[in-house]
């Protein structure tokens, strides 16, 4: 593939399965992006969505093309630098802390320990204990503290040591993060980022293997994004920090050690846009986070069987990028959703509803949604594997849909 960087490889010590096939790790394709031309300057991927000045001008909000399509150019393989996903997150974080002294981090073990997955490693030494604040184990209170700090001028990033722990802060995230801007009549903004490792890991047991997207998605006033590659991890982290809205950034425990070459130049992604992973003609496969790799593994088999699936990493879990999704549906007329989320009230369910509402006439077959099972994530490896969607299921679902 044209968009493949040479030398990209995934190191996956967390993953027992071979689901993270290094050869499947694609760099997100970019439209008319010339790194050599933009060296030394900030560029915003695709749209000027993050340029507030430009956003006030209506014509600039017209988005001619939601995502890059097949056959576009890529950067040369030699440019950029190679790093792991957790390092990309850290790089984004550090750049934003350098850029804006109001950006600060708080959470359990984010400081001296460097974060449970080392996303904040070295930052406390560089920026001091107040900017990288180690908190007591009190999720509800330090999340609320982050919100209070955001209301009064800071731009905090609250790390859930494990995203599941933030269930203890659900009230603060829901009632305060999501609603305060509204209930205050727009007087107070909450520019906060809530992030941390989540998802089904490798036999971490039920409480540490949460699929939280379903819980958070109906909170009004927050945005949710899920990163899946070092490139988008960094770009989304930076975008989330710069957003005036509260943003939940989902990271996946099994993806932290993915390796990729990313540009040396500063870049920021859009929080609202999906990412084309593999353009195709026969079926639209919508996925995000770790399931992207299960899908790409299945795609390999499918291509060998003669199918041409289009794979989209929806990335923005709330709101959905209906343009990218819609364009794909109008092209392929078939939709398969693959997610790790709970089936009941999950992202897939919302996505199904959104596609049905907006693009029903373009569908040639009912939408199929492969979610993980509505069970507490089991400890035993075999049971855990059956809980989440496996590549073989994706292959057979595509075969059925394309009959």
């Amino acid at each position: 593939m044209a968009t493949l960087f040479q030398g990209v490889g995934a190191v996956t010590p967390f993953s027992a399965s071979s689901s993270l096939d290094s050869n499947k790790l694609l760099l997100p394709s970019r439209k008319s992006l010339s790194i050599s031309d933009s060296r030394g300057s900030i560029f915003v991927y695709r749209s000027d969505a993050l340029n507030l000045k430009a956003a006030t001008r209506k014509q600039d909000l017209l988005i001619p093309n939601a995502v890059a399509t097949k056959g576009e150019t890529s950067t040369s393989a030699k440019s950029g630098h190679e790093l792991l996903l957790f390092e990309a997150l850290r790089e984004g974080l550090e750049e934003e802390m350098e850029r804006d002294p109001r950006v600060c981090v708080m959470g359990e073990d984010v400081g001296h320990y460097g974060g449970s997955y080392k996303v904040t490693k070295g930052l406390a030494e560089k920026y001091g204990d107040l900017r990288v604040l180690d908190t007591p184990i009190a999720e509800n209170s330090f999340t609320g503290m982050g919100i209070g700090a955001a209301m009064t001028g800071l731009r905090p990033i609250v790390e859930g040591m494990n995203m599941g722990f933030l269930l203890l802060a659900f009230n603060q995230i829901s009632n305060n993060c999501g609603m305060l801007h509204y209930t205050s009549g727009g007087q107070f903004t909450i520019p906060i980022v809530i992030r941390g490792p989540g998802g089904v890991g490798r036999q971490l047991g039920a409480e540490h293997s949460q699929r939280l997207e379903s819980y958070f998605q109906s909170i009004p006033g927050i945005q949710m994004v899920a990163c899946s590659t070092p490139y988008n991890a960094k770009g989304l982290m930076k975008a989330a920090i710069r957003s005036e809205n509260p943003v939940i950034l989902f990271e996946h425990v099994l993806l932290y050690n993915l390796k990729e070459r990313i540009p040396d130049e500063e870049y920021v992604l859009s929080l609202e846009e999906a990412e084309m992973v593999r353009p195709g003609e026969h079926i639209t496969i919508l996925t995000y986070s770790r399931m992207r790799y299960h899908v790409m593994q299945a795609a390999k088999t499918l291509v060998n069987k003669g199918y041409d699936p289009e794979v989209i990493d929806i990335r923005s879990l709330k709101p959905f990028d209906l343009y990218t999704i819609g364009c794909s549906v109008k092209k392929t007329h078939r939709v398969l959703i693959v997610e790790e989320c709970m089936r009941t009230g999950g992202i897939g369910a919302s996505l199904t509803a959104a596609i049905t509402e907006n693009f029903h006439d373009y569908l040639d077959a009912p939408i199929v949604c492969l979610s993980s099972q509505d069970v507490p994530t089991p400890y035993a490896g075999t049971l855990e594997e059956w809980t989440v969607v496996q590549p073989a299921q994706i292959v057979s679902a595509v075969e059925q849909l394309c009959q």
Partner: protein
């Protein structure tokens, strides 16, 4: 500081016991307490009276040494000047009359939902908030109208908010329990028990951050977190006492102990009802003050706020107070003992201040009547303003969901959905 504060950690109610294995201490404690509370109310009342009697000799029953020393130094005869006295009186009257007006308007069908009135507790709001600078932060609860008024939010805006009008301080989007004012640094009424305390702690963290990281020398704002006795059994209270003391945040935790969490007596809910004692446990001063006496509250407030502003850390203040009305206007208030209500009615904080002003010839009956009249007119004006104000238009519905409306996402046409006129009209389906 923390050393001196710890002097007050004495096991007062129960002597240290050598635990006998066959009879755990807590069961006897619980049993006797339970019996006492359930069937022997006069004893409880007597206990409370004796504590308030003790507090008449000194404004605070138990304070840190710093506070006590300060007290001894200020040997002036009067606690306040005439001007200060009139400011306090006016603010308390504003709070009292405003709430009475709310009750009227609620029963006339002008305001809706849950409306919690502050009658009886005015000394706390006035005593504390009138000591603040405009830049200082206040975090309140669902009983927040009077905190907003004391902080300076115009009565018109608060009343209009209660009427659900577009001219309200939150454009009619918050309501009785969610009063905010960016202009006056009122960070909100928080309607769930305890959730405001972490937010207040965050505001205090901001002040410290701005001073120490951003090197803004003027960043000396103090945050007041108001909450009730019921909240003091909630984890967020303890978590934030810990963090505030740990990082010496400029915050004062103000407990408005009105003895009742709706229908749950404080004594039935709390193993050790002396809330102020929890301050020293976290390394901060714990102070108990008669919350029905604005002058005593004011003394304590001054000390605690100045301490926070000096960067010496947080203080926990328990104000013993009482609400003269039910929990909310929907509460028939049948549970509380009439004798208890009468007892506290006799300690009305406004009557007490009046008496002080008269006794010390700081104000005449006429002057106070003039203030009453002024406030009555102000409230008539506020009601008229609220009544005549427009209801929020449909176009307001989607305006403040996101600070950056791009949060509504990209539509099927590739444009940001917020660009659709339906979003400005408020008719879009989100």
């Amino acid at each position: 500081m923390s050393l001196s504060a710890t002097k007050f950690v004495h096991p007062i109610t129960t002597p240290p016991s050598t635990r006998s294995s066959d009879k755990p201490l807590f069961s006897t404690f619980f049993g006797s307490n339970h019996t006492k509370l359930r069937f022997n109310k006069p004893i409880v009342a007597a206990q409370r009276r004796s504590s308030s009697a003790a507090s008449t000799s000194s404004p605070v029953v138990a304070v840190s040494d710093v506070v006590k020393e300060k007290k001894l130094k200020s040997t002036s005869n009067l606690l306040i000047t005439k001007e200060e006295g009139l400011v306090l009186y006016e603010d308390m009257i504003l709070g009292r009359f405003f709430e009475d007006m709310c009750a009227q308007m609620y029963y006339r069908g002008k305001m809706f939902g849950f409306v919690h009135l502050y009658n009886g507790q005015e000394a706390v709001s006035t005593g504390f908030i009138k000591f603040l600078k405009k830049e200082d932060y206040v975090v309140s609860t669902y009983r927040d109208h009077v905190h907003a008024l004391s902080k300076g939010v115009p009565a018109r805006e608060v009343m209009s908010e209660l009427f659900g009008k577009a001219t309200g301080c939150c454009r009619g989007q918050g309501g009785s329990m969610h009063m905010f004012s960016k202009q006056y640094n009122l960070l909100g009424g928080f309607a769930f028990i305890g959730e405001g305390i972490p937010v207040a702690t965050g505001a205090a963290f901001s002040s410290k951050y701005r001073r120490e990281v951003l090197k803004e020398p003027g960043a000396d704002e103090v945050t007041l977190a108001f909450f009730g006795d019921g909240t003091c059994n909630n984890g967020q209270f303890y978590e934030c006492l810990n963090m505030a003391a740990l990082w010496k945040l400029p915050i004062v935790f103000v407990v408005e102990n009105n003895l009742w969490a709706i229908g749950m007596s404080h004594l039935r809910a709390t193993s050790d009802p002396q809330i102020w004692k929890k301050g020293p446990a976290f390394g901060m001063p714990g102070i108990h003050v008669d919350g029905m006496d604005v002058l005593k509250v004011r003394e304590v407030a001054k000390e605690a706020i100045e301490r926070a502003r000096r960067g010496e850390g947080p203080t926990l203040v328990e104000c013993e107070t009482y609400r003269f009305r039910g929990h909310s206007l929907a509460d028939p208030d049948e549970l509380r003992d009439p004798a208890e209500k009468a007892h506290y009615a006799g300690r009305d904080p406004i009557t007490a201040l009046k008496k002080y002003l008269f006794d010390n010839k700081l104000a005449s009956e006429q002057e106070l009547k003039a203030i009453d009249k002024k406030i009555e007119e102000l409230l008539d004006d506020a009601v008229e303003f609220a009544d005549e104000s427009p209801l929020p238009p449909r176009s307001q519905l989607l305006e403040n969901v996101f600070a950056d409306p791009k949060g509504f996402g990209i539509g099927p046409d590739g444009k940001y959905r917020c660009e659709d006129p339906k979003f400005t009209q408020g008719t879009a389906h989100v």
